[in-house]
Symmetry: C2
């Protein structure tokens, strides 16, 4: 029996099969719920109101309206109406596809920067016509010309190519266009046609993020972007971060298949949007390049990620072979090869290797720090001669995850916090200029810096006792500071920053800075030696750089050394689709980068402890911050 | 509406959809009808009796029983009963799979002759276990070991391999068995399992002949043959020889698809037999090697063969890329790669290149003549230093095609003819020692030699006028000689050899000898220089060598220079499945062989005219025949 589930206030109704959770059902209607426990029912983020009808809650049995239930544990047994509060929502789509803010990368057509040599290309050739004296087969005569154009190519004919060869050659008076699909160790001769009548060829660039997925549809014949789109990763319904995804994949029966399915469904939904927008056929998309972290890549391909989180933390594969789209169910040409950018280690993946090439690290002489903080945090230090990198799970806090009133950078998120001088009145600015519903990463860093400057929190990141303000109070879980009163919020309740939130933020910022220090120590350099800092990913989008330095996340360097690169993972995927040189560089980066595993050895823990102060235990590392605020 | 069609005397009933010809319907019940016109209705070989019911005859409309109809032109419109006379049948299955006759090749296990390096193999490897100090991904550690075992290999992971890798490695304590599928320019990593628990791996060797198809199921782990089978090529219902197949494929709407389908169906029927016999699963067959002539190979792959018979006679492809079985519908593991032996020219194909390697031509120092006369005739001359080859369509006559009472070498075929000394009484021996139904190739050569010796025919291959015997008479189409009276035959009518038959035989034998002479002329050698003659194919099976020399088909050389090799195409396919060395040699032979096109230039026509005598115009070429018979 199927039930009808209506979500309000969206007024959206979906049909439910039994055993489908409300999280899954909501996702089917493009309503994404929060969740950090992979459906274990422990994080409480997906709490919704059962307005009418009955549901069965796993481990509890049937419950009847009206009652609050965890959407991840509840499956409808009758037609139901479910009210989803804002607090349970991931928020509306707002995915970083391209950076149009400060310091953005040159977006000149790729042809002016790298030679166009796409993963799927059409090559025009003139064959010699056969005669009685030269009665070689069609293929030998074509191959001779191919060898001139592409020496060293390792060709494999498809049946379609062989079947079209004789007619195509004769129809075009021996002038043909051969479609080449580069597929790692060989090049597939995917098709042949009379020269001059070649069909459209598009490529799909995918940034497969833990929280968000962004895609670009690229015309492979001129390198132009035909459409862009982004959305939440539907896997998010099964866990906020990579660790909860691994747990779901390995411990939940069918979990791996489910997560693989959700990743593919996410990509397919974006493809659908883009082909409509660009007026392109699904079958015209002939190559796909995916840049994702190792966990996302394993899950997308359906490869067990269990060992990524078990000592000694090894991926099944870093350098993947291409796979045909039909085998994965990605809705492009079924024979299109899907290439995944190579990773380096369990927590340093293809999103970073692709991003490093976009950021130009393999070519620069300057000592460069590359920081990509998304749901995970990855840092790489180096130049054309050497690269070291590391990863930490600092990201989620900066995305609002694990924070009482944290939320992603969408409408209603507090993104800036100020305090009246000589008092504790709080001012804030929200994204979209609507009443606040929570606080996003940028706001959290701003709050941390501002509250520290105002003396509300001490250098250790703890609330100072005995301040004369009702905003600092004791809640159910310790001290908390009220950023916005319920009367002001678009949420009906107070928006607070708790002691636990401070703790999480301090640990996150300390992890990032400690990671940077470990890399510097490994190569015997100081932060002051860093000539450029490149900030990639969503983290940099609205970041107040001065505040990020003030709290000690990023090194205290002149502002002009910092650049913001936007979504380098997507940009890298796009360039890799188009340029052989870029693809080779991504492979080279993956091969040569030295990964420092922060979870082993004591150096990181030492640095981490030293960084658990604002900005740092060693104030000498932050000369421009010295003197600000007081103890 | 479907009709029921009952064939008698077989008493076999099949369901017919409309528009299915009686030829097609009979083939579905494994009754193969003769035909040389590709369904044009001109050769008259498939004439059957409509005993009851009605059929629609193409171009004529409905006809009703009792009446004789051409099965290729008639489709049932009601339930019908059809009587198939022996004259319309291809006969029961009797396909040359292995030669157990004289001079057969050494059949020792291949491992004693060539190193076992099959197209699909399992390689056992011990990976280093990961540690915190060596946290490379599983694949890197496996790849390092693979490189030691197979340097220069170009690997491509399948999804299945990547998905099984982490568990297989850990379950087997880092000792794994990797399945390698060699696929031309790369090697597919088709699977991985814990070492010691590898699954069965079989290969399929296919001799894809114009008239017959023979297969062997080979255990790829030890090289042993698990089962063998052969049958008629179901395409035969659409034409006896390669030219009529090309015409059907190019001129009949859907003809190419139909012939492709029939070839695959033929192979699939053999696979079905063999997997049952050997107790092997379809999915256990992981590699296929097909040796066929260029037309059969084009048709099997669904590639238009039109240009093979249009000047300047070029194949679409000589050197094919492997294709996955699932794409062709061959019933083995769907990802098994099907390899087709490379051809040389339009009428010299993979059956010959594979056969030459079995025959040892690329290794011998002796000047060797290789003759493979099946439905087509191909001849190759040479040694380890050089090879020249040519082809003629001489074969069909020697298989009974184009001969009034010709039939294939099956039960009831006259295979030996004798004449009483001092009279014209005829003795014959039939295959299976049953009353004669016709005469096969061996019998025809024997008849030609015997009748020449008895003075019934002259040196020019014509009947001598005025002989005192009722056996030599004038029939509807000129003179004919009665080999068996209707009262003796298992056919009810006289079995005769007509003037037209003699003409066909003379042309066939002249074409073979002329081809040999053209090759000798091209390299400036004489027949007497030939040190070995290797006879391949069905032609040699029951051949009386002395008679073949007496009529001038084969050069007049000492008998000990002749060897009979049996089905070298099938043997070559089997060895290619098993041995990389053999595969490389087949490629090398295809690349280096010089093809002489007999249809162009005048040298062949001159030699052909000279050979239209028994044994030859130049008696000096046949010293041992001189003095036999009289004029």
């Amino acid at each position: 029996m199927t039930c009808r589930v209506t979500f309000i206030p969206d007024n959206l109704t979906v049909e439910a099969d039994k055993h489908e959770s409300l999280v899954t059902l909501a996702a089917r209607g493009d309503i994404f719920l929060r969740g950090a426990c992979g459906g274990a029912g422990t994080c409480g983020r997906c709490r919704v109101l059962l307005v009418s009808g009955s549901v069965v809650v796993r481990g509890e049995g049937d419950v009847h309206s009206p009652v609050e239930v965890l959407a991840c544990r509840a499956c409808p047994v009758t037609d139901v109406v479910i009210e989803i509060p804002d607090s349970a929502r991931l928020g509306s789509h707002r995915v970083l596809i391209e950076e149009h803010g400060r310091g953005k990368l040159d977006e000149a057509p790729v042809s002016s920067k790298v030679a166009l040599a796409p993963l799927y290309e059409s090559v025009e050739l003139t064959m010699t016509a056969p005669t009685l004296d030269d009665a070689r087969d069609d293929w030998s005569r074509l191959q001779a010309e191919l060898r001139k154009k592409a020496p060293g190519m390792n060709p494999l004919m498809t049946l379609g190519f062989a079947r079209d060869l004789p007619q195509a050659a004769r129809k075009g008076n021996w002038r043909v266009a051969v479609d080449l699909a580069h597929a790692g160790p060989f090049t597939e001769l995917a098709g042949i046609s009379t020269a001059g009548v070649s069909s459209p060829r598009f490529g799909l660039a995918v940034d497969l993020g833990t929280t968000t997925v962004a895609c670009q549809l690229v015309n492979l014949s001129d390198g132009k972007t035909a459409a862009s789109s982004g959305t939440y990763n539907r896997q998010a319904a099964f866990g906020d971060d990579v660790i909860s995804r691994i747990i779901y994949a390995t411990e939940e029966p069918g979990g791996l298949a489910r997560l693989r399915h959700e990743a593919v469904a996410t990509v397919n939904s974006l493809i659908e949007e883009m082909v409509k927008e660009a007026g392109v056929g699904y079958g015209d998309i002939r190559a796909v390049y995916v840049a994702g972290n190792p966990i996302m890549t394993h899950l997308f391909l359906g490869v067990d990620p269990a060992y990524l989180r078990l000592e000694p933390y090894v991926p099944a594969v870093n350098s993947w072979s291409p796979v045909q789209a039909g085998e994965l169910g990605v809705r492009v040409h079924p024979r299109a090869w899907i290439h995944c950018a190579p990773g380096v280690a369990s927590y340093l993946g293809g999103d970073i290797t692709a991003g490093l090439v976009v950021a130009g690290l393999p070519e620069t002489d300057e000592l460069t720090l590359f920081v990509d903080i998304g749901t995970n945090g990855e840092m790489v230090l180096g130049n054309r001669d050497w690269l070291v990198g590391c990863a930490c799970s600092a990201g989620p806090s900066f995305e609002g995850s694990g924070i009482t009133n944290g939320m992603r950078a969408v409408d209603g998120a507090i993104e800036m916090v100020g305090i009246s001088s000589g008092g504790y009145e709080v001012f804030w600015r929200t994204i979209g200029a609507v009443p606040p519903r929570g606080i996003c990463g940028t706001g959290l860093i701003d709050a941390l810096a501002t509250l520290r400057e105002a003396g509300v929190i001490d250098r250790g990141g703890r609330f100072v006792a005995g301040l004369d303000t009702p905003r600092l109070r004791t809640g159910l879980e310790g001290r908390e500071f009220v950023l916005a009163w319920g009367s002001e919020s678009g949420y009906g309740r107070d928006i607070v920053l708790s002691e636990a939130d401070l703790n999480n933020l301090m640990r996150a910022k300390a992890a990032v800075f400690a990671g940077i220090r470990v890399m510097l120590n490994a190569v015997g350099l100081d932060a002051s030696d860093i000539q450029r800092v490149l900030i990639a990913g969503g983290f940099g989008r609205y970041l107040n750089l001065a505040q990020a330095v003030a709290v000690g996340i990023l090194p205290d360097l002149p502002v002009d050394r910092y650049s913001f690169l936007g979504n380098t993972s997507l940009k890298g995927a796009r360039l890799a689709l188009l340029s052989r040189e870029v693809r080779d560089k991504v492979e080279e980066v993956a091969y040569s980068l030295t990964y420092l595993d922060l979870s082993t050895g004591t150096s990181f823990m030492d640095e981490f402890m030293l960084a658990l102060f604002i900005p740092h235990t060693d104030m000498g590392l932050f000369p421009s911050v010295v003197g600000q605020g007081g103890d």
